[in-house]
Amino acid sequence: MKIKIFAYTICIFAIILMQSTVFEYVRIYNVKPNLFIVFIVSIALLRGNVEGAVVGFFAGLSQDIMSGKLLGFYSLLGLYLGLLLGSVNKRLYRENILVVIFFTFISTVAYEVVVCVFGLLFITEVDIVYAMKNIILLEALYNCLAAIFIYIIAVKLNHKFEAANSSKRKY
């Protein structure tokens, strides 16, 4: 349990750091990927809805604190993303990378549409078509690419957790 919390904390901190500093320089067509979504999707698919929701919540919370205008907005989004994806994880063959890529795409689009509607549409007028074409779809594509790498890391973490779990059961 301890090692799990430690690993997740490190991952979330690493993601915020990259997302807020280095990624600024790797923007393609002015859009950068959102590793938070990819991470939540990977963990939720591999570890189920409880861990998905918890990781989603804390990843969202840290994003809120880093840059949110409101505290709690991204946390709730992350919580529900992790919860929903964690709930489908038993029904599919999740070792397949294509499944992960597919879900990353779907969840990025859903997540960013929610951010756009609740975060912007109520404050100012927003061109939804523009946002969809120039930000959301592009970001979803980058996220799919990033999903490959993040998923590999997540699978390794998963093996470690399972190994730690089974070694504990011996005693």
């Binding site: 280095v22 950068k32 604190i65 880093m66 205008k69 709690g72 919580l79 919860l83 912007l120």
Partner: protein, 289 residues
Amino acid sequence: MLRLIKSKFFIVMTVTILMLVVIGVTSSRVSQLNWLNNIISVPLSPVQKFFSYSSQKIEGGFGYFKDVKQVKNENEELKNKISLLEKENRELLRYRVENKELREVLDLKDQFNDYEMVGANVIAKDPGNWFGIFRIDRGGKDGIKSAEGMYYPVINNRGLIGVVLNSDIISSKVVSIIDPGSSVSAIISKTRHQVIVKGDLSLKEKGFCKMDLIPLDADIAVGDTVETSGIGGIFPKGILIGKVKRVMQSGNELGRYAIIEPSVDFKRLEEVFVLKNKTNINEAGSMEK
């Protein structure tokens, strides 16, 4: 089993309601919950500082290998410019003294004199793609404490950047003027017409903003400068915002807007200044945000 699901559902609902309350509470700029931000931002800020500093340095390092010839030409040009500017500067100095004397005679209050400038570094940008928010490495310990009626405008040597949204011990969040949802009361320098400069999602990526609510009789042209009007109590009067890049007509006569090119380059923000009001009693405090 049913109980477990029920309790899970219960936990999710509790967290949801709790977070909705937190959203409600933090939606005001000055809320008691801002101390929560310290939990993550305090350990993270130094690391972010290091990361953004080194990535800036790396980016600068690539620029070093640019064409030497170009640099030489530029050097020559700049030298010519310097001599021109020096001449102009001498003239302006004379004007400044004159201006000061005249102001004293007229007893005009200089708005900038009420402010103290605090230098800060940009340590982190917005992790997402939607907002124009960034973090700076100055916070409560440097006297930037968000309170009712206290606004901290952020500028650099070229013009207006934004305003501090909230702050924790060692860092603060700044909303830039290109953030969709920010709006600044402004005037056109030439004609003194009042307008609103807003952030816009589709212009944000180019670093531009939108000028709205242009009066019908205002005669604006490409290249006109726009500055803050001082109305609203957030920004002091007379900070340069930018230049008119294009005037657009959408539909009817009233649907006129313009695209503003801010004088600040938002892609390369490194050092900024936070304007801190010296007088703690802000007359504009009761004005709305």
